[in-house]
């Protein structure tokens, strides 16, 4: 680590890059939820892209965590959200498959 790098600024740069990636994935998932044509493609955008954005933001905040216990708690929040997203995707997809909603017209 004697490359003339300041470790603090390197960690901050990694945090900024990960936060930017998280915002990009959140925006992509939101645009998909607003613009995709039917329920199942919207569900695909919701449960994949947005939870990936939350994961990037969580990893960015792990680098800034004040101590180890708070970092572990942030990881637990992310794991609970991913588990919930997987379950909710299955339940919503099956519910929408039975209901056969009317397809909205493309503008």
């Amino acid at each position: 680590m004697s490359w003339g790098l300041d470790m603090g600024s390197a960690v901050d740069a990694a945090t900024i890059a990960l936060l930017a990636a998280g915002i990009v994935f959140f925006v992509a998932g939101t645009v998909g939820l607003l613009r995709f044509p039917d329920v199942h493609s919207r569900l695909h955008a919701l449960t994949k892209a947005d939870n990936l954005g939350l994961g990037f933001i969580t990893v960015a905040l792990l680098l800034q965590a004040p101590d180890a216990w708070k970092a572990v708690k942030m990881l637990f929040v992310w794991l609970l959200t991913m588990l919930a997203a997987a379950t909710v995707a299955q339940l919503f997809a099956r519910s929408a498959l039975v209901a056969r909603p009317p397809q909205d017209r493309r503008p």
Binding site: D12, T15, I16, L19, G22, I23, F26, V27, G29, T30, L33, L34, V39, R42, L43, L46, D50, N51, G53, L54, I57, T58, L61, Q64, A65, P66, K70, K73, M74, F76, V77, L80, T81, L83, A84, A85, T87, V88, L91, F92, R94, S95, A96, L97, V98, A99, P101, P102, D104
Partner: protein, 94 residues
Amino acid sequence: MTDLLFMTAAALLLTVAASLVRVLRGPTRPDRMMGAQLAATAGVAILLLLSVAAGSPAILDVALVLALLAAFAAVAFVKAASPDGAGDPEEETP
């Protein structure tokens, strides 16, 4: 760095506002519930950012409770929309 975390949280608040558009306009009831789920996911991210930026560890517990309540709300929605209210969305209607 603290200002950057607050700015990221503000950008995610715009995500929450966009999800409310889907809650308002979604043609089916699962669409509206998916908008609420996106608001919950973005809300968890905002609370994690605020916890680190403001240096208050209690907000982590708020984020944990919000994630748990969003999961329960989705399960309760699917259970209420099933044919006899018992929870299986694909069972035969009696």
